[in-house]
C-alpha cells in the first residue's frame, strides 16, 4: 500500500511586481488622482522650500552661547543663548534665587507622581490620596510656612506658576465637578436649579470674564479687612471655571451607566452614599477619564490667560523677556520656545489620554 498523499500547500506566490515596493506605495498613497497629485506636489514644494530654512535658522546658524552681541553677529540664525540667559525667569519668574531649589523639588515630586501613575505602581486609594494631597504640597513647597521661609505670592511666576495654577485648578475642581454633576440629578428642585444655573452660566461666558470677576469684583464682595491675594483669587476663579466643565464631563459618564447597576444596588438595600461611592462613581469616572485628560489640557492652555489680569505665568514671562531692552528683537525665539514647551506638555497629555482610551477594555465599544 502506498502512503496516502498528504496535502502540502504550495508556498504563497509573491505579490506581482506592480503591487509592491516604494513605487507602488507612491502611486497609491501620493499620486492617486490628478487633484490629489497636484495638491500633494504643491504641499511637498512648500515643505521643501520652508523646512530647510527653518532648520538653518533654528540649528545650523543659531547662536547657543554668549550675550546679545554674539547673537547680533549672526542675524540669520536663532539666538538660543537668549533663552539660556532668561531660563530661570521663564521657569520660576522673580522667585527668590536662594529658594529656587523649592521649585525643583516640587517638579521632582510631580515627576515621580506622574511616573508612578503611568507605570501603574501607584493604585487605588493611595493614588487618589497622593494626587489630592498634591495641591497642599504645591502651595506649601512654593509658598512656605511650616518650617520653610515664606515667599510672597506676588513673586511666584513662570512655568512654575502655570503648572501650579493648572494642577491645583483641575485637582480641586474634580470633586467639586462631581458634586455639581450629582446635584444636576438631585430630586430637590433648589439644589438642581442651583447646579444647572451655575454650570450653564460659567460655561456660557469666556474665562476672561471669570478672571476679571475674581480679580476686580471679588474684593467688593468680601468684608473690609478680609483680603485674599490676587493670585489666590484667580486660582479660585479657575477652579470654579474648571468645575463647571468637569461637571458636564462627569454627567456624560453618569448617563452612560446602565440603569441596572442602580437597580441592583437598591434591590440589595445599599444606601445612596454607598451606591455612589462603591458602584456609580468608580464606573462613571472610568468612562470619563479620557475626556478629563482633555480638560487638563484645556486647563493648562487656559492658564495663559492670567497675564490679562496681571499675573506673570509662563507666557507672561515670555512676553516680558522679549521686551527686555538688553535683548531686543528676539521675540521669535521667545515665542517659539514657549510654543515648544506648551506643545510638548499638551501633546504628551493628549497621547496619554488616547492610550488610556485604547488600553481600557471597558471603553472599547
Amino acid at each position: 500500500m502506498t502512503n496516502p498523499t498528504i496535502f502540502v500547500p504550495k508556498p504563497d506566490r509573491e505579490a506581482p511586481a506592480q503591487a509592491k515596493g516604494f513605487l507602488h506605495w507612491l502611486k497609491h498613497h501620493v499620486f492617486n488622482g490628478w487633484f490629489n497629485s497636484a495638491l500633494a506636489l504643491s504641499l511637498i514644494a512648500i515643505i521643501v522650500l520652508t523646512v530647510p530654512q527653518v532648520i538653518q535658522w533654528a540649528f545650523i546658524k543659531a547662536t547657543w552661547v554668549g550675550d546679545s552681541a554674539n547673537c547680533k553677529t549672526s542675524p540669520d540664525g536663532a539666538c538660543w543663548s537668549f533663552i539660556a540667559a532668561k531660563f530661570r525667569v521663564l521657569m520660576v519668574g522673580v522667585y527668590p534665587a536662594a529658594e529656587s531649589w523649592r521649585g525643583i523639588v516640587g517638579a521632582l515630586v510631580l515627576a515621580i507622581l506622574i511616573i508612578t501613575t503611568i507605570t501603574n505602581h501607584l493604585k487605588g486609594k493611595v493614588l487618589i490620596v497622593a494626587w489630592l494631597l498634591l495641591p497642599v504640597f504645591g502651595y506649601w513647597i512654593i509658598g512656605g510656612g511650616f518650617g520653610l521661609n515664606e515667599v510672597d505670592q506676588s513673586s511666584w511666576g513662570g512655568l512654575m506658576l502655570s503648572v501650579l495654577l493648572a494642577l491645583v485648578g483641575i485637582i480641586v475642581s474634580i470633586p467639586l465637578g462631581i458634586v455639581l454633576a450629582l446635584g444636576r440629578f438631585s430630586g430637590s428642585p433648589i439644589t438642581k436649579s442651583l447646579c444647572i444655573g451655575f454650570i450653564e452660566t460659567v460655561r456660557g461666558v469666556p474665562l476672561i470674564t471669570i478672571l476679571f470677576m475674581s480679580s476686580v469684583m471679588m474684593p467688593l464682595f468680601l468684608p473690609p479687612g478680609f483680603i485674599i491675594d490676587n493670585m489666590l483669587r484667580i486660582q479660585t476663579g479657575m477652579i470654579f471655571f474648571s468645575a463647571a466643565y468637569v461637571a458636564e464631563v462627569v454627567r456624560g459618564g453618569l448617563q452612560a451607566l446602565p440603569k441596572g447597576q442602580f437597580e441592583a444596588a437598591s434591590s440589595l438595600g445599599i444606601n445612596y452614599p454607598k451606591t455612589l461611592y462603591l458602584i456609580v462613581l468608580p464606573q462613571a469616572l472610568r468612562h470619563v477619564l479620557p475626556p478629563l485628560i482633555g480638560r487638563c489640557i484645556s486647563m493648562f492652555k487656559n492658564t495663559s490667560l492670567v497675564i490679562i489680569v496681571g499675573l506673570l505665568d509662563f507666557l507672561g514671562m515670555i512676553k516680558s523677556a522679549s521686551l527686555d531692552s538688553e535683548w531686543l528683537g528676539f521675540e521669535t525665539e521667545a515665542y517659539v520656545f514657549g510654543a515648544v514647551v506648551y506643545f510638548s506638555i499638551c501633546y504628551s497629555l493628549s497621547r496619554y489620554g488616547a492610550h488610556l482610551e485604547k488600553s481600557d477594555p471597558v471603553l472599547q465599544k
Binding site: 497609491h28 498613497h29 501620493v30 492617486n32 490629489n36 495638491l39 500633494a40 511637498i44 515643505i47 440629578f185 430630586g187 430637590s188 428642585p189 433648589i190 439644589t191 442651583l194 452660566t201 456660557g204 461666558v205 469666556p206 476672561i208 470674564t209 476679571f212 470677576m213 476686580v216 469684583m217 467688593l220 464682595f221 468680601l222 468684608p223 473690609p224 453618569l254 448617563q255 452612560a256 451607566l257 446602565p258 440603569k259 442602580f262 437598591s266 444606601n271 445612596y272 451606591t275 492652555k301 487656559n302 495663559s304 490667560l305 497675564i307 490679562i308 507666557l315 515670555i318 522679549s322 521675540e331 515665542y335 514657549g338 510654543a339 506648551y342 506643545f343 499638551c346 501633546y347 493628549s350
Partner: protein
C-alpha cells in the same frame, strides 16, 4: 441604556427623609448669604466712592476707540462705546466662523484622505494648533508674523489699490453711484427666483422623475442677473483707492493689524477643532454604507450628498456648535492685542469708573445671548440635515 433620572431622584428622596426641612434650610442659607454679600458689597462700594446702577451708560465716555463699525467719537456715551464693542465682537466672530468652517472642512477631509502627504500635513496643522494656547498663537501672529511685513513707506503692492504693510491691509473702497440700488434689488430678485425655481424643480422631480441641475441653475441666476443689470446701467460704482500720505494711508478699506491678527488666530485655532469634528464625523460612517451605495452604482456625487454627509453631519454639527460658541468666547482674547472688542472696552470702562459688577453682568448677558442664538441656529440646522430614522 441610561440611568433614569427618576431613579436617582428617588434615592435622593429616600435619604433626605425630612427633605422639605433640608430644602428650606438650603434656601434660608442662600438668602442669608446673598443678603450678607449685598450688605458688604454696598459698604465696600460707598467706602471706595463707586457708583452703582446703569446710569453711567448715558454719561460721556471720553475714551478713544480705534476700530468702530458705527459712528463713534469720545464725546459719545459709555453705552455707545459698549455697543461699539459688542458690534466688534460680533463682526470678528462672524467672519472668523465662516472662514474657520471652510478651512476646518478642508483640513478634516484632508486628514481622512488616502493620500499620505495630504493627511500628514493636515494632521500636523491640527495637532500643532490644538496643543498651543490660542493666546500664544495670537501674540505670535501679532508680534512676529505681522512684524515681517514691510514698513508703511514701502508697502507690498501686488495689484493697483491693494497695499499690505505693518499698518494693515488697504483695499479699494467701492463707492456706489445712482442706480446701484437696482443691482442690489436684482440680486435679491435672483435669490427669490432661484428659491421658487428649486421648489418647482423638486415638485417636477417628484411628479415626473426628471431631475434638473437645480444648484447649477440657481447659482447661475444669482450670479448672472445682478451682473447683467450692473452692466446695462453702465457700471454705477467706482473704486476709491488708498493713498500714502505722509506716514500713513488715507482712504480705502483697511484691515488693521490688530483685527487681522485676531481674525487669523481665531480662524486657525477653531479650524483645527472643526477639522477634528469633520474627521470624526466622516469616520463614524460605516464603510459598508459607501460600499453598498457603490455596489448599487450610485454616482459618486450622490453618494457624498445622500449617503455620506447626512450620517457624518449628525456627529459633526453638535460638536461644531460647541466650537462656534468657544470661538465667540475666545474672541475676548482681543484684549491682549488691543482690538477694541466688548471685553477690552468694558475693561477700560472698569478702569475709569470702577463699576465692575455692572460691566461684568453686561458681558455675561451678551455672551450668553450670543451663545443661545448660535445654539438655536445650529439645532435648527441639525434638525434640517438629520436623517429621519424609521
Amino acid at each position: 441604556m441610561k440611568i433614569l433620572v427618576s431613579q436617582i431622584k428617588q434615592s435622593f428622596n429616600n435619604i433626605s427623609v425630612s427633605g422639605l426641612v433640608g430644602q428650606m434650610f438650603v434656601l434660608g442659607l442662600i438668602f442669608y448669604g446673598s443678603y450678607f454679600l449685598l450688605l458688604t458689597t454696598q459698604e465696600n462700594l460707598t467706602a471706595r466712592g463707586i457708583d452703582s446702577g446703569f446710569k453711567f451708560l448715558n454719561s460721556e465716555a471720553g475714551l478713544p476707540i480705534s476700530d468702530s463699525l458705527i459712528e463713534y467719537s469720545p464725546a459719545k456715551s459709555y453705552g455707545t462705546a459698549f455697543l461699539v464693542g459688542i458690534l466688534n465682537t460680533l463682526f470678528v466672530s462672524f467672519i472668523a466662523i465662516i472662514f474657520a468652517t471652510i478651512l476646518g472642512v478642508i483640513v478634516g477631509v484632508g486628514r481622512t484622505s488616502k493620500n499620505w502627504v495630504i493627511s500628514k500635513v493636515s494632521a500636523f496643522f491640527v495637532e500643532t494648533l490644538r496643543n498651543i494656547p490660542l493666546l500664544l498663537t495670537l501674540l505670535f501672529i501679532y508680534t512676529v508674523a505681522l512684524g515681517t511685513l514691510p514698513r508703511a513707506k514701502t508697502p507690498f503692492n501686488p495689484i493697483e489699490g491693494v497695499f499690505l504693510s505693518r499698518r494693515g491691509l488697504y483695499l479699494p473702497d467701492p463707492i456706489a453711484h445712482d442706480g446701484f440700488g437696482l443691482v442690489v434689488a436684482a440680486f435679491f430678485a435672483a435669490i427669490a427666483i432661484a428659491y421658487f425655481f428649486t421648489k418647482w424643480a423638486k415638485k417636477l422631480q417628484i411628479r415626473t422623475g426628471r431631475a434638473l441641475p437645480k444648484t447649477l441653475i440657481s447659482l447661475l441666476v444669482i450670479i448672472v442677473l445682478p451682473l447683467l443689470v450692473f452692466f446695462i446701467l453702465g457700471k454705477p460704482m467706482s473704486l476709491e483707492y488708498a493713498e500714502l500720505k505722509g506716514f500713513n494711508f488715507v482712504g480705502g478699506i483697511v484691515l488693521k493689524p490688530e483685527f487681522s491678527a485676531l481674525l487669523l488666530g481665531l480662524i486657525l485655532y477653531t479650524a483645527a477643532y472643526i477639522g477634528e469634528n469633520v474627521r470624526s464625523g466622516l469616520q463614524s460612517v460605516p464603510a459598508g454604507q459607501i460600499e453598498a451605495a457603490r455596489a448599487l452604482r450610485v454616482p459618486k456625487s450622490v453618494i457624498i450628498r445622500k449617503v455620506l454627509l447626512p450620517q457624518a453631519l449628525r456627529v459633526t454639527i453638535p460638536a461644531t456648535t460647541n466650537d462656534y460658541t468657544s470661538l465667540v468666547k475666545n474672541s475676548s482674547l482681543a484684549v491682549a492685542i488691543g482690538y477694541p472688542d466688548m471685553v477690552s472696552i468694558g475693561g477700560t470702562i472698569i478702569g475709569q469708573n470702577g463699576q465692575a459688577i455692572e460691566i461684568i453682568a453686561m458681558w455675561m448677558a451678551v455672551y450668553m445671548t450670543i451663545n443661545l442664538i448660535i445654539s438655536a441656529l445650529m439645532n435648527w440646522l441639525n434638525s434640517r440635515v438629520q436623517i429621519v430614522e424609521r
